[in-house]
Subunit: 304 residues, 2 copies
């Protein structure tokens, strides 16, 4: 009798896939990064992309074992991850739907979950589990994917009562082999939480940039641009991100975002009030609190 | 006849100092970083610190050639840079004033300039030129200084009509040997500009952290903390900085900060209005503008 130790996530992934490849639809930032990491681990991958030039470049970069513009490329896949922009996830084309193999588990990486789940529930009779890796950079397109993008990052899975334990374990194994940290939640809770930590920061940061642009005194404005350093660069980073992605997130999560904006305004007004009333001890105590909170939230990356 | 090329900043610094050391008052983040870089360049340095333990540790770290708690250590200095917290810069003690050699040019690194200039004009009969290197980290104290901290960073100099060309060239040479980028401005303009790009970001970022802390739904709050990733970490970094420093900056630059907060609120409300009215094309155009602005402002670091 052979006594085996606990299975590694890679073993779990392989045993669920039984030699069928992982299918990727789209090889931009997220799809390309998944493809590179799976290839390095020896997990077979096939990828469907829209344009012939993208396919050519993706092959040169080695983003998947087989890259094609022909939907038939997905035929053998045991798991398909839709790495498409939110608007295309929300309105799946008949071509895409017919390209997906009925036996495959389908997941996605969209940054808003309730509308994606609703769209796929209506359009797709097969198994679908929503996902969202919290790993963004300002890069996009076929050149953007880099190895190790998900390492130590949260990856939300919006499983439902309909999700089978086997499908859940398959997706958990995929996320773990990519180095991600699985976070389980409902689609509605996900959308409220990312409104706070992902969509609100985009507007908060964009408003900061606008404040500098719209400074009426031109001399001060130019000086501010010249004196901006690392602190400003960090605070303004997500406000300088992909405008189309920012708009899609805002429009498809507008209720949670408006709720978050409302609370944000209250928080800022409280701090502004302390400045106006020159209550410096209380301002210092408030900044002490925010420092403590940040240290809890933004902990160092876990070791490899 | 020897024809010499243009002088390097290091040659300029040496020729102005004529073997006299650079004096540093305080060896925290900024003082320590200046000391390490000057030592590596072979520029002699002496440093005055407050506590014996700090002096001992600073000697171990090699932050200056001579480190002492005895004010007499500054006696031979040709240039003294006050690397003290803002509150101590604003209320120089009689001990500090009597320790500064009357022949030396004195500068500082305080993050607000008009009140510092006013305080030193009243207290110090010698030459004083305000300075402000835009190089912050969350670190503080004798362990915080690191080599190369100022590389590619702006360093404001608030020269006045009273500043002699020789003193100006001496400070410019110091900043350039440290790799910094000299930005000339008046103290008032400096304070308005840093309110926009340094002090406002602290409150904008702290308010974002408070919004998460004060989320009334505890499940959403915990989920938000679990899903926070690099975008949130960047946007919240300066709000999680040194609370005492943040309070000092806010209190001593309160008028410019309130002006900046007022404009910020207008900017945020404009973006919020686009979300509320679902004007997505206009939101996308606004985010495109902020992206363009950020690319102009936060350019890649110049090569070494």
């Amino acid at each position: 009798m052979v006594v085996s130790g606990p299975e590694s996530p890679l073993q779990t992934l392989r045993s669920y896939l039984v030699r069928r490849p992982v299918g990727l639809v789209g090889l931009g930032l997220i799809g390309g990064a998944i493809g590179l990491d799976l290839k390095a681990l020896g997990v077979p991958t096939v990828a469907l992309v829209h344009r012939a030039e993208t396919a050519e470049r993706a092959r040169q970069r080695g983003l998947a074992d087989v890259v094609s513009t022909d939907p038939a490329v997905l035929r053998e896949a045991g798991l398909v991850v839709l790495c498409l922009p939110l608007d295309r996830l929300l309105a799946p084309t008949p071509q895409l739907l017919s390209a997906l193999p009925r036996q495959a588990l389908v997941s996605d990486v969209g940054s808003v979950k309730a509308p994606v789940l609703a769209a796929w529930k209506a359009a797709w009779p097969g198994r679908f589990v929503g996902g969202h890796p919290m790993a963004g950079t300002t890069a996009a397109g076929v050149e953007a994917g880099q190895p190790g993008l998900f390492h130590g990052r949260p990856w939300a899975l919006t499983t439902t009562d309909a999700t089978s334990p086997a499908d859940l374990r398959l997706l958990e194994a995929l996320i773990r082999v990519l180095g991600g940290r699985v976070v389980h939640c409902s689609a509605q809770d996900h959308d409220h939480a990312v409104a706070l930590v992902s969509h609100l920061p985009v507007l908060v940061s964009a408003a900061l940039l606008r404040t500098v642009t719209q400074e009426p005194n031109q001399l001060i404005r130019h000086l501010a641009e010249g004196l901006a350093s690392s602190g400003f660069a960090d605070t303004s980073r997500v406000g300088g991100g992909n405008p189309r992605l920012g708009t899609l997130m805002a429009s498809h999560n507008r209720h949670a975002l408006r709720h978050a904006l409302h609370h944000y305004r209250d928080s800022l007004e409280a701090l502004e009030g302390l400045v106006r009333e020159e209550r410096w001890d209380q301002l210092c105590a408030a900044l002490q609190q925010t420092r403590d909170l940040r240290q809890q939230m933004v902990s160092p990356q876990p070791p490899v």
